[in-house]
Symmetry: C2
DNA sequence: TTGAAAGCGATACCAA
DNA sequence: TTGGTATCGCTTTCAA
């Protein structure tokens, strides 16, 4: 019964017959209804309802050259994507913002490094009207490729070298985030400061580290205690262990993502350090994770959902015909004080 | 430059011209290449590469009546979806399994309760070849509607009343999960047992509770200490507080999801109970969360990714023409012992 | 305001 | 093995 036999779908043609008008009229009626008489409109509406008609998207796309769908491109491997609460927050913002439109979301998640070629081919083939690109690494290869595509798109996170690669993007104020973390730790009397930064090839990580360093230097403190992690829990564990080995006297640490910060808390406990008494910890993200740790994380909040929503809005502008605004929109961050620092 | 002006995409027609063959031949060549001479195939391959040709999906869909895409339907509101690590795990499994195919994933996330009508309309309109349905509540309305659709589909989680609504589904062995939790607590000497169960209108919650109760009764223990939460952190907090109020002497509790279990740990700490010394806690899921809590959670592991992968496989079978196997595929669960119990 | 008709870019049948 | 051609369902001129 529930087999692949799709019960026949009504076509425009049939609606026209039932409504007693032409196909052209039906088409106008279901698309905004400009230049159709009230009675024709009514007849069409009735026929549509009666038949349960919905336009065939493929047929429509073929002529309008629009697909009414956009892609969310995730260059990260799937594992990274779903396990990062910030990224899932962005996803939620995207779906929310898209809900108000006719646009469908096609999810393009890389499976292995180097999958980008396949993703780009998909985008190039006119399957979607635009693309949202999240969480990209390193060199700005992808940004360049996207620019060449001639397809509307928005980046989540600034490109690595925004001067040489101008693309529309949304980003959090990561520099200020790093600074806020530093100032909080300094302000609460910590002096042996260190940080678990993100990957050196991600702009978000670079910016957070940058803000952190500047604030430390302004306060006359050393800013050379730095270990890098990959933003994941496992990466955070390894980085925090290195940090404690190299700087056993640390009394305050800024960990550049909540997953890494939750790992840092575990490591500190394993090493017999009390948080925040012996070592204060400030995270970054303020996702669900921040409240489930012990102690709950003091962390820099970046608005993940708003991030996703803004990306969609910027894409919609382009789809509406506006030229892409090259350059970024920076979302504010704020420090959320809980118990870890 | 990156404007909405899609640089002209080559068509079959042009490939044919460049290759010096007919459109029909090109079509055969790019689709499996049966009944095309080696030289024709070679000429086409060359032309395709030279022009950077990719078939227009809309045009193809129009005639093949396939869309080469499937929907992941999430009746939950977006918030629930992205904040539930189990669901994101399923998502990952789905994208992984789909990566090996030509199928694209369209994400259909409900925005508000009652959004299902819109989602169903979308499915009904032939926009996708099949659907995966996750995390559904209550009465089996949706299952019935899906059956009526005549579209291949697979449920994640059994329908509420599988006898009256026969649909293909993948599910975890929730009953056994509840039993494992109970047996572990009993086996470690706990006697005042209670549970924070999931929503009474979700089959997964009902099954976990069922297994739990049966094991307790077999052991001659009372199984009446039950509070319900909605599987979220906030729901877990409220339910755990009620539980402690009504059963202050509890020494072992099974919390039916990791998010709720992490909340339960916080509540217990706030009430001055030590875990596991005073109260042992067993969770359910074994997601990332289970390792970030203090103490790390002893929890029943259900294979989220495999769940998603199996759903895709069952859908692929249907798309390949097999009749849908009505009834479920049950995935085994196992107890992961950490420190909370 | 309406309808006739010309495509959009592919597939698939049929005859060669 | 090939190529010509009808066709999928819709939008969009262009005349009426």
């Amino acid at each position: 019964m529930t087999s692949g036999e799709p019960t026949h779908l009504p076509t425009l043609e049939e609606v026209a017959r039932v409504a007693g008008v032409s196909r052209a009229t039906v088409s106008r009626a279901i698309n905004g209804g400009s230049r159709v008489s009230p009675q024709a409109q009514a007849a069409v509406d009735r026929a549509v309802a009666q038949l349960g008609y919905t336009p065939n998207r493929a047929a429509r796309s073929l002529v309008t050259r629009r697909t009414d769908s956009v892609a969310l491109l995730v260059p990260e491997t799937g594992a990274r994507f779903v396990s990062d609460p910030f990224l899932t927050g962005v996803l939620q913002g995207v779906t929310t913002a898209l809900a108000g439109t006719e646009l469908q979301l096609v999810l393009l998640v890389a499976q292995h490094a180097g999958d980008t070629a396949r993703q780009l081919r998909y985008l190039r083939s006119g399957h979607v009207d635009g693309a949202l690109v999240t969480s990209h690494h390193g060199n700005d290869e992808l940004a360049l490729e996207m620019s060449r595509l001639g397809l509307p798109f928005v980046f989540g996170g600034r490109p690595f070298d925004p001067d040489s690669v101008a693309v529309p993007y949304v980003d959090a104020d990561n520099v200020n985030g790093g600074r806020l973390a530093a100032e909080h730790l300094i302000g609460t009397g910590r002096r042996r400061l260190a940080t678990v930064a993100g990957p050196a090839d991600m702009s978000a990580a670079v910016d957070r580290l940058d803000g952190w360093r500047r604030a430390l230097e302004e306060a006359g403190l050393h800013a050379d205690a730095v270990e890098h992690g990959d933003f994941t829990i496992d990466g955070g564990t390894a980085a925090m262990e290195r940090l404690l080995r190299h700087h056993p006297d640390v009394d305050g640490v800024f960990v550049a993502s909540d997953p890494m910060a939750s790992a840092a808390l575990q490591v500190l406990r394993n090493f017999g350090r009390r948080v925040p008494d012996d070592v204060a910890v400030v995270g970054f993200d303020d996702t669900m994770l921040a409240t489930t740790t012990t102690p709950p994380l003091t962390t820099v909040r970046q608005p993940a959902e708003e991030h996703g929503e803004r990306m969609v809005e910027m894409l919609l502008e382009q789809l509406a015909g506006s030229p892409p605004r090259l350059g970024g929109e920076i979302l504010p961050v704020e420090l959320i004080v809980r118990e870890s620092a």
